[in-house]
């Protein structure tokens, strides 16, 4: 399913926090339709790498291109608009708005672009339906299970049809059953062409969903390898 067009291109990216070097000259390409898993011990810089690609944090040096645009050179507003249209994000702890039911949490991503409530809710409902939790659309996050919350988060991430889906430990807060469901979901998404970057400690997740593994250590890419999905 992959082609040769890179969705993400990092060139010599460096990130320092005071005297601590979180990323030390990382260069990486992710092509459209790829599913890349980033693994490594705690503090190796994998979450920092994801933050850099998402424009949530700025590199100290190097360049970052996502979807052909220099993310590291954008101002905050451009970054927000860029994220809105080209990136979807899933977090370990879901980060849903507790004051909104599932449907409105998903619709929110489209509403921020200026979509009216009606069409946004319609698309949100379609996504929840595709993810198998349409019947939970009116439930608030506090009353949803972990797996359900992560599905809502995935639906929200897909709302604006992003070129790249970034997942930070997507199964880290889930029990094994819910984790399996999320893995299946990510796999399905990749198989229909969604480019994925997954930061994880979970080897099962990496081997199940990713086509390439990037292993990090001390802020550098230690090894890259192709994966056979299990």
């Amino acid at each position: 399913m992959t082609d040769q067009k890179p969705v993400v291109r990092l060139d010599g990216v460096r990130k320092e926090y005071g005297e601590t070097v979180a990323l030390d000259g990382v260069s990486l390409e992710i092509r459209s339709g790829e599913a890349v898993a980033v693994m490594g011990p705690s503090g190796c810089g994998k979450s920092t790498l994801l933050n850099m690609i998402a424009g949530l944090d700025r590199p100290t040096g190097g360049t970052i291109e996502v979807h052909g645009e220099r993310v590291d050179a954008m101002n905050e507003t451009k970054l927000a608009l860029f994220r809105r249209h080209h990136l979807g994000m899933i977090f370990q702890f879901f980060n849903l708005l507790d004051d909104l039911p599932a449907l409105d949490n998903v619709a929110l991503a489209a509403q921020l672009t200026g979509s009216k409530a009606g069409p946004a809710r319609k698309r949100a409902l379609e996504l929840l339906d595709e993810l198998g939790i349409a019947d939970r659309r009116n439930i608030y996050p506090a009353a949803l299970s972990g797996g359900e919350r992560q599905r809502v988060a995935v639906a929200r991430a897909l709302m604006n049809r992003p070129a790249l889906l970034l997942a930070d430990e997507p199964t880290g807060a889930l029990d094994s059953k819910a984790g399996e469901q999320v893995m299946d979901l990510l796999l399905d998404l990749n198989q229909i062409g969604q480019t994925l970057l997954i930061v994880t400690h979970d080897e099962r997740l990496a081997h199940r969903c990713a086509s390439r593994l990037v292993e990090m250590g001390d802020g550098r890419i230690a090894r890259e390898s192709a994966l056979e999905r299990s």
């Binding site: 927000a80 994220r83 004051d99 929110l108 200026g114 608030y140």
Partner: protein, 776 residues
């Protein structure tokens, strides 16, 4: 160092912004509290305070030196707590009464070696005390500007064949003399009286009690030794009349300031503790006992509270003293020291409010388990707030706006306190704006009825009088370029049937009604017949008259009846009098022989005409005419407008700080939500819009509720203030609420809210979100 102290110190260091905010809010609220309490204190008893501070005399007595000796007076001490005197006293008839504002009667001059002493300490507010014969200090309330004005012209007083050089001005709360000279000087003038100043023991709160004490003192003195005595209560009554205008205004600002300060401190501190619930949970998990946890939080709030309260109280004291001093200085009540209880209330009261505000939520945390406390630190997620958010998400509003509108429902308690502060902020600003508008309108009426220019013929003893008749002077004035209207007045006193006191009647011709007197009619109508008069409110109050009453008058055997057909705010300058048409003059006055100096002319000039130029033109045209500029605001308007502006701004700032704190807390509690929203594409502008909207909504509600409250306060307090000054205000000066005034005032709430929210909202928009999104 105990673990509790260490944890509290760490919490203060870690929460620098919150600590700074608590300190700043406490500082401003302490300042506001001191100013407010000082206003309330000052407004409760300004005379009594100064009287006590200056050891005012309960009675000022004058004795006949021919009948009693100084030794006898000194020895007479029955019921006397303190006495000063005997001082030589003489009544002087100044040769030149028109120079400066000397009273229109003889002046009482007393020989005193110094302005201090056990009774009636005098405030020499300008110049110095007389040190040699030939010098005099005159009694006048303090004036702000001595470079110009009537007092500046008073360099000497000539009377009884001597000329006394004015070396200073002093003010005494006991009103014991019009001027003071050295004892040697008064001896040279051959005093006709001996003055004794008494402070009595026991209760002297009534005139009867003062008189009883006086009887006690004079018992044993030769019969007829006491010429006369004035109890302090007479002076107090006069002062109350003057001050009556200020007191309701000061008290209103005082109460508003106090309530806002308490609300904001409560909101800020309780919010800080609630936002720290998670930390409380962690401390409990570490093994801190519930009591230790509460102590940590009380200490955490106390440090900035004390740091803010002390400088705040000092700033408030300095500001309050200046403000009250400014307000009361003109009345001679310069002793505006902040009372000890005001200091105490600010230095202990505000930190106490801080502690109580911290204690309430801290005790809630005290009851929670560690796990509950950890999860309770975020905004509430249930009930009405959720329903509102859901309803808003379906609206057509931009999503950032609809999310912002829902935010206040997550923390109803905090929202209520913030809104209450905004509401009172708008109330204060509305009241201050209304007051300023009313004062401006009153000033406009004053200026209008005073005319831009006043003209009077010079009396013969002040120069060469004009040779023109009143008709010729009027013609001259009407012929000068720039003249719009001319009113000519002459007054006389007519005997009033049923009263010992004659009544003053001012006859006017020309455009008297158009000068503004008709426009300021409070009741009734303008006169239309020769026997009809209109009267100013203060005259009606003084005489117990009302519109519709008739006054029988007599002049040289000629009798007639004047019918009061209208009530005006005020009449022409000078003592109050009935205003009658010129045609009535010959009807009611038997022999109206009027000298040129008896006519008073008011001139209004056309817009764009230079008043100074006009004054110069009149002088050039006839040097026998005294002419002066009547324009310019009065001191009262300037002072009240000044302090209402200062207090309005202060309270608006405090309310804005409350908003700032609320938004900062919301941003802190919702940092994860904010991070998520930014991660899915919320722009910094949308974050700012969301946070600002959340407060602007409160500003709208605060504005809509605060505006009518401010209008009601204005409607209630201003007439009360006016009645204190024995003035009735026309409806036109109270109905100042045109759309041009009201609309900006409604927006004041939004403005305060937006200004308060902008800074933390921008900080929230710039927040680094990577960390909060990846960690629970």
């Amino acid at each position: 160092m105990s673990a509790v102290w260490r944890a509290a110190r760490a919490a203060v260091r870690r929460r620098r912004l919150q600590t700074f905010l608590i300190g700043l809010v406490v500082l401003l609220c302490s300042a506001t509290t001191v100013v407010s309490l000082a206003l309330l204190d000052a407004s409760s008893a300004p005379f009594d305070r100064t009287f006590a501070a200056r050891h005012g005399a309960h009675a000022v007595a004058a004795y006949d030196p021919a009948k009693v000796t100084e030794a006898q007076l000194t020895a007479a001490r029955t019921g006397v707590a303190a006495a000063a005197g005997p001082f030589g006293q003489i009544v002087l008839e100044p040769d030149d009464r028109s120079v400066g504002p000397l009273p229109p009667h003889a002046i009482t001059v007393v020989g005193r070696a110094d302005p201090g002493g056990p009774v009636d300490q005098l405030d020499v507010w300008h110049g110095r005390w007389p040190s040699a014969p030939g010098e005099i200090v005159l009694a006048f309330p303090p004036e702000e500007n001595m470079d110009r004005g009537p007092l500046a012209e008073m360099t000497s007083v000539s009377a009884n064949g001597v000329t006394l050089r004015v070396v200073g001005f002093a003010y005494g709360i006991s009103d014991s003399a019009d001027g003071w000279v050295t004892p040697e000087q008064v001896r040279a003038l051959h005093p006709t009286g001996l003055q004794m100043l008494y402070r009595f023991t026991g209760d002297v709160s009534t005139k009867e009690a003062v008189n009883a004490r006086l009887s006690g003192v004079t018992t044993g003195l030769p019969t007829g030794a006491l010429i006369g005595a004035e109890p302090y209560l007479t002076v107090k009554e006069d002062a109350a009349e003057d001050l009556g205008t200020y007191l309701p205004l000061l008290a209103t600002f005082g109460v508003l300031g106090l309530v806002v300060a308490v609300l904001i401190v409560g909101n800020v501190v309780s919010g800080a503790v609630v936002s720290g619930f998670r930390h409380i949970g962690v401390l409990k998990a570490l093994g801190f006992t519930p009591r230790q946890v509460v102590t940590v939080y009380l200490l955490m709030a106390s440090v900035p509270a004390v740091a803010g309260a002390v400088p705040g109280a000092v700033i408030g004291a300095l500001g309050g003293q200046a403000l009250i001093g400014e307000a009361f200085r003109g009345f001679g009540f310069g002793d505006t020291e902040i009372s000890w209880w005001v200091w105490l209330a600010a230095l202990l009261g505000i930190p106490l409010i801080v502690l109580v505000s911290a204690l309430v939520p801290a005790r809630r945390a005290h009851r929670l388990s560690a796990a509950e406390a950890i999860t309770a630190g975020s905004a509430q997620r249930r009930g009405r707030g959720l329903r509102v958010q859901r309803a808003l998400s379906g609206t057509r509003l931009p999503r950032a706006v609809s999310l912002g509108l829902g935010l206040p429902f997550a923390r109803p308690g905090r929202t209520a306190l913030t809104m209450a502060a905004l509401l009172l902020g708008v109330t204060t600003v509305t009241f201050a704006a209304g007051l300023a508008s009313t004062l401006n309108r009153v000033a406009e009426i004053d200026v209008q009825v005073s005319g831009d220019i006043g003209v009077r013929g010079l009396p013969s003893d002040f120069g060469t009088p004009t040779t023109r008749t009143d008709a010729q002077v009027e013609e001259l004035l009407r012929g000068l370029p720039g003249t719009a209207r001319v009113g000519v007045f002459a007054d006389t006193e007519l005997a009033a049937a049923g009263s010992n006191e004659p009544i003053r009647v001012i006859f006017g011709r020309g455009e008297v009604a158009e000068l503004g007197y008709r426009a300021q009619l409070l009741e009734g109508r303008w006169m239309a017949a020769p026997d009809e008069v209109v009267a100013p409110s203060n005259l009606l109050l003084e005489r117990g008259l009302k519109v519709g009453d008739q006054v029988a008058v007599e002049s040289g055997g000629r009798r007639g009846t004047l019918r009061i057909v209208g009530e005006t705010v005020r009449g022409p300058s000078g003592p109050p009098g009935l205003m009658a048409d010129w045609s009535s003059l010959t009807t009611f006055v038997a022999d109206p022989k009027l000298a040129p100096s008896d006519f008073y002319y008011q001139v209004q000039v056309t817009p764009g005409t230079s008043v100074a130029g006009y004054v110069a033109a009149v002088r050039a045209a006839d040097s026998g005419l005294d002419v002066w500029d009547n324009t310019g605001g009065d001191e009262f308007t300037v002072i009240v407008a000044g302090f209402s502006t200062v207090l309005g701004l202060l309270l608006a700032t405090v309310a804005a700080l409350g908003v700032l704190n609320t938004v900062a807390l919301d941003a802190l509690e919702r940092r994860r939500d904010l991070g998520m929203l930014k991660s899915i594409g919320m722009t910094p502008a949308q974050v700012v819009a969301m946070m600002v909207t959340s407060m602007a909504a409160l500003g709208v509600v605060g504005g809509l509720l605060g505006l009518p409250l401010g209008i009601l306060t204005h409607r209630f307090v201003v007439p009360m203030s006016a009645s204190g000054a024995r003035v009735r205000l026309p409806l036109s000066v109270l109905t100042v609420w045109s759309p041009a005034v009201v609309i900006p005032l409604v927006l004041t709430g939004v403005l305060i809210a937006v200004l308060g929210a902008l800074l933390p909202a921008r900080a929230a928009a710039r927040m680094t979100i990577a960390q909060v999104l990846h960690n629970e």
